[in-house]
Structures are given as structure tokens and as C-alpha cells.
């Protein structure tokens, strides 16, 4: 049984969605874990869900990264545990320096909620191994601060190490400026760390796990995670 923690910060609001999505897979025991928790030893998989932790007032993720649970997340990261940050969770991981770069306001300064097409750039990670390289995924976004930026050397390193896992693409799979809903550098939608055990992405795979809601492509990512954890 894979033990999964879905972290709950004050202001998280996709925690239930993530819990429902992960519980729709067999072999997973998932629970909500409050941000005051200081140990995550009991878990194999840690999800930082979307939302507006602490209202995202100062900067998205800025206050949440000082929550007690984040010390435990850092420890889990060092232990090589699998950590997934979705939307606000991605922003928190960046603020906590577990992932490089940062997410700033969308170029058009407006919140954007819509379905996007993502091109999968690297399938040799625990998060993407059930996908094909170059596969197109339909996943929704819903964010006001999802424009990924990083220093040129950081970007170079991300590219060199194949840490960019998802880019916004056209329906034909092309990476064009127009395909990016937020102005991200190189259309980056999701990146992992060098060790490939931490993955942050702005799109919401948990919202694309049911045919009724329009797409089931999010299941590829969860399925990858679960398969790679089961092998461990």
C-alpha cells in the first residue's frame, strides 16, 4: 500500500480534489495532513495541492513555506521521497527552494482558467514514466501567477538535465508563444529537481481524472507515480 499525504495549508482549496483523484487509484492510502504536522515519516508520496495558502497575499507560496510541515517536506525531499506540487503547491516548492526559479503574475495580468495542451518532454522520471515522450496531455490550468521565470544559467541547467517535464503546446504539439497561457519562459508548465523526485506543475492533473469532466489525461501522471512507487 502506498501511503500518500495531501498537505493542507490554511487556504488550500484543491486538497479534497487531489485526495479524490489519488484515491481513485487502487493501492493507495491517502489522507489530509495539516500544516502544523512536523513529521512525514509515515508517507511515501507527498502532494502539495492547489489553492491560495495564506491568501497568497505577500507572494504566492511565500508564507506557506514557513509552515512547520515544510521542514518535514525538506527532510522527505532529502530522503528521496516523491513530492508533487500542483499549482500553489508548485509555487510553495519554488519559494522553499526545493525547485529552482519562481512563478510570477501571468503576462496579461489576468487569472486564467481553461484547458491547455501540454507536451511531455521527458518520460524518464517517476512522474511521467507511463507516458510517451512527446505525448500531448489535455490538462486544465487555473492561476493568476503561473508565469515561470528563472535566471539564464538555471534555465540552461534545467534543459541540460531534462528537468523540464511539461511545456504548453498547440494542438499540433508545437511550442509557440501563442500556446502559452501565461507567458512562461520557454512555455514551461512543470519542472522537476535534478534528482527527479520533486515535481511542480501549474496545470491540475487532479481535475483531469474523470471522463465526465472532459479529460482523463491527469491519470497518466498519477498512474506513473503509483507504478514507480509500487516497484520500490
Amino acid at each position: 500500500m502506498i501511503r500518500c499525504a495531501v498537505l493542507q495549508f490554511p487556504g488550500s482549496n484543491c486538497d479534497q480534489d487531489a485526495l479524490i483523484a489519488i484515491r481513485s487509484f487502487s493501492g493507495v492510502a491517502a489522507e489530509l495532513v495539516w500544516h502544523q504536522t512536523t513529521s512525514l515519516e509515515a508517507f511515501d508520496l507527498i502532494i502539495l495541492p492547489g489553492g491560495f495558502s495564506y491568501g497568497d497575499y505577500l507572494r504566492s507560496g511565500a508564507i506557506a513555506c514557513f509552515s512547520p510541515v515544510m521542514q518535514a517536506v525538506k527532510k522527505a525531499a532529502q530522503q528521496g521521497k516523491i513530492i508533487l506540487g500542483i499549482c500553489n503547491g508548485f509555487q510553495i516548492l519554488c519559494e522553499a527552494h526545493l525547485l529552482p526559479g519562481t512563478l510570477i503574475r501571468n503576462r496579461n495580468l489576468l487569472f486564467r482558467c481553461e484547458e491547455t495542451i501540454l507536451r511531455l518532454e521527458n518520460n524518464v522520471t517517476p512522474f511521467t514514466q507511463a507516458c510517451e515522450k512527446g505525448q500531448l496531455l489535455r490538462l486544465p490550468i487555473a492561476h493568476g501567477e503561473g508565469c515561470y521565470v528563472a535566471q539564464p544559467d538555471v534555465l540552461q541547467e534545467l534543459n541540460n538535465n531534462n528537468q523540464i517535464l511539461l511545456r504548453y503546446a498547440t494542438a499540433e504539439g508545437e511550442i509557440t508563444k501563442a500556446a502559452s497561457p501565461n507567458g512562461s519562459l520557454e512555455n514551461i508548465a512543470g519542472i522537476c529537481n535534478r534528482e527527479k523526485n520533486i515535481f511542480g506543475l501549474m496545470p491540475h492533473p487532479e481535475r483531469a481524472c474523470e471522463a465526465l469532466l472532459g479529460s482523463t489525461d491527469g491519470r497518466f501522471l498519477f498512474h506513473s507515480l503509483i507504478t514507480s512507487l509500487s516497484k520500490k
Binding site: 495564506y54 491568501g55 497575499y57 505577500l58 508564507i63 514557513f66 509552515s67
Partner: protein, 76 residues
């Protein structure tokens, strides 16, 4: 001329960002955080403007006079 404009939420108006940040500072170990107010600082570099024009810019565009106060200083 260079002008720095500071825009702050009016004192009677709730500043949610300030309240959340004050709580966060307490969690960080700061004792006795009395108040945090979060505003904006805008720097202008423009050819020329009278004080009245600057007031107009602040009033009509840069600040929201319904909930914010502003002041400006001419740097040089």
C-alpha cells in the same frame, strides 16, 4: 525628474495582506507584531510635471482613492 510615489491602504480600511503577513511574522518568531500594512511604491521618471499634475496622476490613475492614500516625493 524622478518621483517616488508611495500608496498605502487607508488606515481605516482592512488590509488582508498585512493581516496575513503579521501572522506569518509571529510564526517566524517575531514577538509583539503590532501591525503590518502593505502598499505599493512607484517610481516615475518623467520630463516634467507640476505638483498638481502629480496629484492628478495619483488620484485618477495610480491610486484607488476610495481605499488608498498616497504621497509622493520628488527625488531630483
Amino acid at each position: 525628474m524622478k518621483i517616488r510615489i508611495t500608496i498605502m491602504p487607508q488606515s481605516a480600511v482592512l488590509d488582508p495582506a498585512g493581516v496575513a503577513t503579521a501572522h506569518a511574522l509571529e510564526h517566524l518568531g517575531f514577538a509583539g507584531v503590532h501591525s503590518v500594512r502593505i502598499g505599493k511604491s512607484i517610481e516615475l521618471d518623467i520630463a516634467e510635471a507640476t505638483e498638481e499634475q502629480l496629484h492628478q496622476a495619483c488620484r485618477d490613475l495610480l491610486s484607488n482613492p476610495v481605499i488608498e492614500d498616497y504621497h509622493f516625493e520628488i527625488l531630483k
